[in-house]
C-alpha cells in the first residue's frame, strides 16, 4: 500500500484547464516542483498562476530535467485547477518551447491516488 505526500482532492480533476503564458520561475524543489507563470487573457490582463508538479524524483522518473524550464519561456500547461478558485493547479502536462510534451511523473497527475 503506497502512501502519497498529500491528497490531490483540492484539485478539480473534472475541469482540465489550459494556460498559455510565460514562465516567471521554475522551482525544482521538494516536496513539489512548481511552475510560476504569467497568463495574459484576451483583454490583455495578466494573471499569475502557480502550478504544482510532482517531486524532482518523480519528475526525473518520467524524463524531466531541472533545466527543462526557465524564466521567460513560453509554455502551454494543462492543469487541474484548485477547487477554491484561486489561480493555482496541478499539472497534467506541459508543452515546452522546443515542442516536447512532459507529464507529471510516472502514473501521476490528476489520477494520482491519495493513498
Amino acid at each position: 500500500m503506497a502512501l502519497a505526500h498529500h491528497s490531490f482532492a483540492m484539485f478539480d480533476q473534472t475541469k482540465p484547464t489550459t494556460l498559455t503564458g510565460t514562465v516567471t520561475a521554475f522551482e525544482w524543489t521538494n516536496p513539489h516542483a512548481y511552475i510560476e507563470m504569467d497568463v495574459t487573457d484576451e483583454k490583455g490582463a495578466v494573471k499569475h498562476w502557480s502550478v504544482e508538479l510532482g517531486s524532482p524524483s518523480i519528475l526525473m522518473q518520467s524524463g524531466w530535467k531541472f533545466k527543462d524550464l526557465k524564466h521567460g519561456d513560453k509554455v502551454t500547461a494543462r492543469i487541474s485547477p484548485l477547487r477554491s478558485g484561486q489561480p493555482g493547479g496541478l499539472l497534467i502536462q506541459v508543452t515546452l518551447p522546443d515542442g516536447r510534451v512532459l507529464g507529471n511523473g510516472p502514473g501521476r497527475g490528476p489520477q494520482a491516488p491519495a493513498q
Partner: protein, 243 residues
C-alpha cells in the same frame, strides 16, 4: 539410491551452513514492484490480511476514515502529517508512492534510506532488542535483525503513537516484525507483521515487493518549499503566489 539421498542431504546441509555464514546481500537501491505495472504475478506479494481493531479503537478509526473520504469528495482534504512534511517513520517509510529505498548492508548493521523525506533507519545485527519500555518512542524506534537462513528477520519497537501506518491506531506496545528475503535474483519481499495487544484483536500482515534499480542514484529530498498548509478547519490548502 541411498547414496544419492545421502549426497543430497549433504548438499542441502552444506548450502544451509553456507547461508548462515554468508547471508544474502541486500545492498542496493530498490523501487516498488507492483502488480499491474508489468510485475510478474508469480513474484507479486500476497494480499494483506485484514486489520482487526478492538471495538473501542475500530469505531473512531472508521469515523476518521469516513470523515476523510467525505472531505476528499468535497475537495477539502483533511490534514495529514506528510502534507506538512512530517516524515512517515516505520513502517510507512518503506512504501511511499514510487520512491525507492536504499539498503546498505554490513555484517553488523543494515541501514535503509528512503528517498522520500530522506528518512533513515538502522537495523542492528549484533545485539539484542531492548525492552519496549526502555526505547524512547520515535519515528524509527529501535530495530534489531537476525538471519533465519536467507531471510532477514527484523524486530522493531518504540514507534510513537502518532506515527501510524494507514492511520491505524497503535499503542506503545506495538511490535513490528519484518521478514525480508529475495524471491528472485533482483526482487525482494518485505513481509511486515504488526502486533499490538492494546489496539488489535489480532496481528495483521502485509507484504511489500521491490525491484532492484541498478545504477539508480538516490535523489535528495529536503522539504524546503512546502506550500501546503492547514487552515483553521484542519483542511489542507495550497498557497498560491501573487506574482
Amino acid at each position: 539410491m541411498i547414496a544419492r539421498v545421502v549426497f543430497l542431504i549433504l548438499i542441502a546441509g552444506a548450502a544451509h551452513a553456507q547461508s548462515r555464514t554468508n547471508p544474502p546481500d541486500f545492498t542496493g537501491t530498490w523501487g516498488p514492484y507492483r502488480a499491474g505495472r508489468g510485475a510478474d504475478p508469480k513474484l507479486a506479494p500476497p494480499s494483506a490480511s485484514p486489520v482487526s481493531l478492538k471495538p473501542e479503537y475500530a469505531k473512531p478509526y472508521e469515523a476518521r476514515r469516513a470523515a476523510e473520504a467525505e472531505a476528499n469528495r468535497r475537495g477539502e482534504p483533511l490534514a495529514t502529517g506528510s502534507a506538512l512534511c512530517v516524515p512517515y517513520g516505520v513502517p510507512s517509510m518503506m512504501s511511499v508512492a514510487v520512491y525507492p529505498v536504499e539498503f546498505i548492508q554490513t555484517p553488523k548493521q543494515i541501514t535503509i534510506i528512503a528517498e522520500a523525506f530522506s528518512e533513515v533507519r538502522r537495523i542492528y545485527l549484533d545485539r539484542p532488542q531492548a525492552r519496549i519500555d526502555e526505547v524512547p518512542p520515535g519515528y524509527y524506534g529501535r530495530s534489531v535483525g537476525r538471519w533465519d537462513g536467507d531471510t532477514l528477520v527484523v524486530d522493531t519497537v518504540g514507534i510513537k503513537e502518532s506515527v501510524q501506518y494507514q492511520r491505524i491506531p497503535h499503542s506503545d506496545q506495538m511490535r513490528i516484525t519484518e521478514r525480508i528475503r529475495f524471491v528472485a535474483p533482483d526482487i525482494l519481499h518485505d513481509q511486515v507483521t504488526i502486533e499490538d495487544p492494546v489496539t488489535l484483536e489480532k496481528a495483521f500482515t502485509y507484504t511489500l515487493a521491490y525491484r532492484r534499480m541498478p545504477n539508480y542514484e538516490m535523489v535528495e529530498f529536503v522539504c524546503d518549499n512546502n506550500r501546503e498548509y492547514v487552515d483553521d478547519q484542519g483542511v489542507v490548502r495550497l498557497k498560491v503566489r501573487e506574482k
